[in-house]
């Protein structure tokens, strides 16, 4: 087993996604790696403490957000309107440039 193989096996062992007597035996045969797995398990358990802590958000978080996305929707609407107006003007211009009837040929000198 290479060292990087060992490292992700150790993660699986620490998280319990690899388990069983054969792995316990393997750990018993590698006390230094067993110590790493034990430390990793303890870190996971400690950090899991933070998951259970409800964190109070600022009371106006949602109101501020909804006002922001409301403005966003308005801007997007205006942009869409502007783009559709601009698009129409551009099409008119292209029409004028390329679809205009050919200019009359200059009259031949008499």
């Amino acid at each position: 087993m290479t060292s990087s193989d060992a490292e992700f096996t150790l993660t699986d062992l620490a998280d319990g996604t690899l388990a069983g007597p054969e792995w316990e035996g393997w750990l018993a045969a590698h006390p230094d790696l067993a110590a790493e797995v034990a430390a990793a398990r303890q870190v996971r358990a400690l950090l899991g403490e933070l998951r259970t802590v409800p964190i109070a958000l600022p009371t106006d978080f949602e109101a501020v957000l909804m006002a922001r996305v409301g403005r966003d929707a308005t801007y997007l609407g205006l942009l869409e309107l502007w783009l559709s107006g601009f698009g129409r003007a551009l099409l008119d211009l292209l029409d004028a440039l390329f679809d205009a009837p050919p200019s009359p040929a200059p009259a031949a000198p008499q």
């Binding site: 490292e7 992700f8 958000l57 957000l65 996305v69």
Partner: protein
């Protein structure tokens, strides 16, 4: 509507935005706590966390129509959270903020307000408070990638595959980073919060 799962709300958002934002608002209500907590742990301050959490939900609002698979909405929002916070940290060229001399819990204004719904003995509350302060402090001293993988895996309990996709690395590399980050965390924790770190089997702070 708020009891609907995030995937269903995401589908509703795709059908109703921008005309009707009720599904979006319900989605925000469900996930704002997790997004804010993750942003707080990545950024290190309440004010930054609020700014970045707002940014995340604005991105959700703008991008949810393009989300191919609404089943992945939670993973997508976590990914947006990590990327948004990392972008903000990069823009400021910031490194973790805490100083070695500062005790972990002196500045209450820089921390979120914790509400503890379960009444417990004052000593136990104080011990847990001290433990949380230490954990938050040590997290802030890790480099951002180590902090990111630990927050996603061990605090938020996200699956390996999702973390791999968030950091755009393979599954093996993800597990390797998680392992190294845990060892780095353990060394720092043992050094900075020695009285709270007990070798496995001798005391039960970690075990509950």
């Amino acid at each position: 509507m708020e009891s609907l799962p995030p995937q269903t709300l995401a589908r509703l958002c795709q059908q109703t935005l921008p005309d009707d934002a009720r599904a979006f608002q319900a989605l925000v209500r469900q996930l704002k706590g997790r997004v804010y907590a993750t942003a707080y742990r990545l950024m290190g301050s309440r004010e930054d966390a609020e700014d970045q959490a707002q940014e995340v939900f604005v991105k959700v609002y703008r991008g949810i129509q393009d989300l191919d698979d609404p089943e992945t909405v939670t993973a997508w929002i976590y990914r947006l959270t990590v990327n948004t916070c990392f972008d903000a940290l990069r823009k400021r060229g910031r490194t973790p903020t805490t100083t070695a001399a500062a005790p972990p819990s002196t500045d209450r204004d820089e921390e979120p307000q914790f509400a503890d719904p379960n009444a417990a003995a004052p000593e136990e509350i104080a011990l847990r408070r001290e433990l949380r302060d230490c954990l938050e402090d040590v997290l802030q001293r890790l480099d951002p990638i180590e902090r990111g993988v630990l927050v996603l895996r061990d605090v938020e309990d996200r699956p390996y595959q999702e973390i791999a996709e968030t950091f755009a690395i393979g599954l093996g590399a993800t597990k390797m980073r998680i392992h190294r980050a845990r060892l780095a965390f353990q060394q720092l924790f043992e050094r900075l919060c020695a009285e709270l770190w007990q070798p496995v089997g001798t005391r039960g702070v970690a075990e509950g």
